[in-house]
Symmetry: C2
Subunit: 348 residues, 2 copies
DNA sequence: TTGAAAGCGCTACCAG
DNA sequence: CTGGTAGCGCTTTCAA
C-alpha cells in the first residue's frame, strides 16, 4: 500500500548519489544545475518528498512549534491561532496544537510535547508552572507566553518571555473615559483572580479612579466565562448602590453583562449603565452590542510573538517582555461627551 | 546548553543495555520488574524523555494528525479544534494545525504536511482537490473530511471519507417550521456556491418549500462572511417582494442578517421577518440575538471523525460517509405557533 | 528476559 | 561539485 519513496530511490533513478539528492533538497547547498535537474525529474516521477522526521533527527531542529491554548470560547483566541499559525508557516514552522484547561497549569500536556522535540513553545491563556518552566529551560526549549506574564513570585531563573498588551494602560483608558463622561458608581468585572491580564487591567483601572478620588463601587469575578459573568453581573446590580458603569476584563464577559443589564434588568445602555470591554473581538462590533472596548492589537502581538520566538530559537537570549500599546474603541455603550454639561468632581 | 539525554545515557547509569531502556518505555514489552525499576530511576534522575521523532522513524507511525482548517471567524470551528484535539489527545495523537484559505484548495499546504509523515489528515471547512486526494491515497495517508463532502464529479477512486450533519434534513426542518408558522415569502442566504453543506441545506430547504407549492422568493450568496452576508441581506430586501422569512446557511451569516434587518431596515423579528440559522453556535443563544437555528451535534460529529480516522489508520478501509442527525432549536426569531389561527395554503 | 547488532531516512563531513 | 561514510536516537530482530 504505502510506497514510501526514499532519497536512495530517487538517486538510483537519477543516476547520482543519495547525497546529491539530499543537497538538491537543501536550500543553499552546492549542486550543479545539471544534477539538480536530473534529481528533480526523478523525484517528480517517483513522487518523492523528503522525510522531515529523519531530517529533524540529524539537524536537531524539528521546525515544529507547540501552541498551548485554552479558552477558545473567547473569539480572541481563535484569531490568535489563525494569525499565529499563518505567520509561523511563513517562517517555515509548523504548529503542534494543544488544548489545556484554562485554570490548571499545563504540565501534563507539555511533558508530552517535549517528546516531539519542538523548537519552541507558545503558551496562550494558560499558565506555565515554575516547575515546567525550569524543565523547559533545562532542555533548552524557548518558551514565549502570549497575553499572560509569569507571576512575579518565581525566582528570576524561572522567568520566561512574554508578549502582552499594555493592560495597565488599557485599564487607565477605560477609567478615564468613564470619568470624563460623568459616571461615578463604577464596577469592575474581573476574569480569573490569578490571571495577570485581569490583574493589570483592574490595577490600571482602579488606580485611575483612585487618583480622582473614586473607589470601585462593586467588584465581582466572572472567571472569563459567559454564564459566570452573567451571574456576577446579577450580583453586581443587586447591591444597594447600583453601578452606573461597568468595566469588564474582556469583551466576552462584557457581552454577557450587556445581556443581563438590558434583557433581565431592563436598564438602558448607555443611559442607565455604561459598559466597557477589553479585546475588541469581532462580536463587539456586531450591531446588537456595539460595545465600547479597549482594543488589543492582535496583529502586532502575534508579530512580536513570532519574532521573539524566532530570536530565542536562534540562540539563547535572556527572557524578554514585549508590551504592545492598546487603544480605546468607542462605540455606543458609553454615552458620548456632552460639552455643555459641567463635570462634577475632578477635572480632566 | 542542551543536554539531550539519550536512552544510552540512561542505560549506562542504570547498568543495563540500551534495549532494556527502550523496552521499559514500550508498553507491553517484556522487562523484569527489577530492570524496569532501575531504568525508571535512572531516567527520572537524568530527566529522560524518549525522542518521539526517532521512534516514529522506525515505527513508521508519527502519532501526528494534521488538521487543516480555515474560516475560524465562525465560532463553530474553534469549538471543533478544541474538541477534536482533546479527543485525539486522548487517543494518543497530536494535532498539527494548518490554516488554509477558505476558498482555495489546500494543496500547497498539504504537500508540506506530508513531509511530516502524519498518520492522517482531517480537513475541515476546506476543499481537498482531487489531485491532492489521490496523492494522499498514493502515500497511504487516510483523509477524513469534516463538514464537507467531496464533489460527486470525481472518480470513485478519489472519494475520501467524510463526516457531516444531515444537512439536507436540516434544511427540511427549517422549511417546515417556516411553513407551519405561516411565512410565505421565503428567502435563502447561501454560503459558498461550491460548498457541499450550503448546497445540501438549500436543497432540503427548497425541496420542502416546493413540495408545498412554494418557491424561493429570493436568494443571495454571503460567502460565509459577515460583511458579505450583510450586503446580501440588503440586496434581498431591496426586491419588490420583500421576504417575510430568511434561512441562512449558517448562524454567522444569520446574525449578520439580523443586524441589517433590525438595525438598518427597522423591521421587527419575528413580527415582520423570521430568521433561521444553522450550527447553533454559542453566540446564537446570546440574549441580543436569541436565534432559532438548526443545531449541529458537534460532539457526535467529532467523535465520529475521530473513530473514522482511527479506523482508517488501523488499516486500509473503503471511504465511508457518516451522517449525524441535526435538530431544530427554537428561540425567538421565528414566531411561535398560534393554534387558533387557521393556516392558509398547505396543511401539515 | 536480556544484550548486541542492524537499520529507519536523512544530513554532514570527508576525500577526491 | 561529487560520492562515500558515519551517525542522529530509537525499535526490533536474533541469539544467548
Amino acid at each position: 500500500m504505502k510506497a514510501s519513496v526514499r532519497a536512495q530511490d530517487v538517486a538510483s533513478l537519477a543516476g547520482v548519489s543519495q547525497s546529491a539528492v539530499s543537497r538538491t533538497f537543501t536550500p543553499g547547498a552546492s549542486v550543479s544545475e545539471d544534477t539538480r535537474r536530473k534529481v528533480l525529474a526523478a523525484a517528480q516521477q517517483l513522487g518523492y518528498r523528503p522525510n522531515a522526521l529523519a531530517r529533524s533527527l540529524i539537524t536537531r531542529r524539528s521546525r515544529i512549534v507547540a501552541l498551548v491554548m485554552s479558552y477558545l470560547e473567547n473569539q480572541f483566541y481563535p484569531l490568535v491561532i489563525e494569525r499565529l499559525s499563518q505567520q509561523l508557516q511563513r517562517e517555515g514552522y509548523h504548529v503542534l496544537m494543544f488544548i489545556a484547561d484554562m485554570d490548571e497549569a499545563a504540565d501534563g500536556v507539555l511533558a508530552e510535547i517535549l517528546e516531539y522535540q519542538v523548537d519552541g513553545i507558545i503558551m496562550a491563556s494558560t499558565m506555565l508552572s515554575p516547575t515546567l518552566a525550569s524543565s523547559c529551560a533545562a532542555v533548552g526549549v524557548p518558551v514565549v507566553q502570549f497575553n499572560r506574564i509569569s507571576s512575579l513570585e518565581g525566582s528570576p531563573r524561572h522567568t520566561v518571555s512574554a508578549v502582552t498588551s499594555d493592560n495597565h494602560r488599557g485599564g487607565e483608558l477605560a477609567a478615564m473615559l468613564l470619568l470624563e463622561r460623568g459616571y461615578r458608581h463604577i464596577a469592575f468585572l474581573a476574569g480569573l483572580e490569578a490571571s495577570s491580564t485581569s490583574i493589570a487591567r483592574e490595577r490600571g483601572f482602579a488606580e485611575t479612579l483612585a487618583a480622582h478620588g473614586l473607589g470601585l463601587t462593586a467588584r465581582e469575578t466572572g472567571h472569563y466565562d459567559f454564564a459566570e459573568a452573567q451571574a456576577a453581573t446579577r450580583r453586581l446590580f443587586r447591591q444597594p448602590q447600583q453601578p452606573d458603569a461597568l468595566f469588564a476584563a474582556n469583551d466576552h464577559m462584557a457581552i454577557a453583562a450587556l445581556d443581563v443589564i438590558r434583557g433581565e434588568l431592563q436598564l438602558r445602555v448607555p443611559g442607565d449603565v455604561a459598559v466597557i470591554g477589553f479585546d475588541d473581538v469581532p462580536q463587539s462590533s456586531w450591531g446588537a452590542y456595539d460595545l465600547t472596548s479597549v482594543r488589543q492589537d492582535l496583529e502586532s502581538m502575534v508579530t512580536a510573538t513570532v519574532s521573539l520566538m524566532c530570536e530565542q530559537m536562534q540562540g539563547a537570549f535572556a527572557p524578554r517582555n514585549i508590551v504592545i500599546p492598546c487603544e480605546l474603541v468607542e462605540r455606543s455603550t458609553v454615552r458620548p461627551r456632552i460639552d455643555h454639561l459641567p463635570l462634577t468632581g475632578a477635572s480632566f
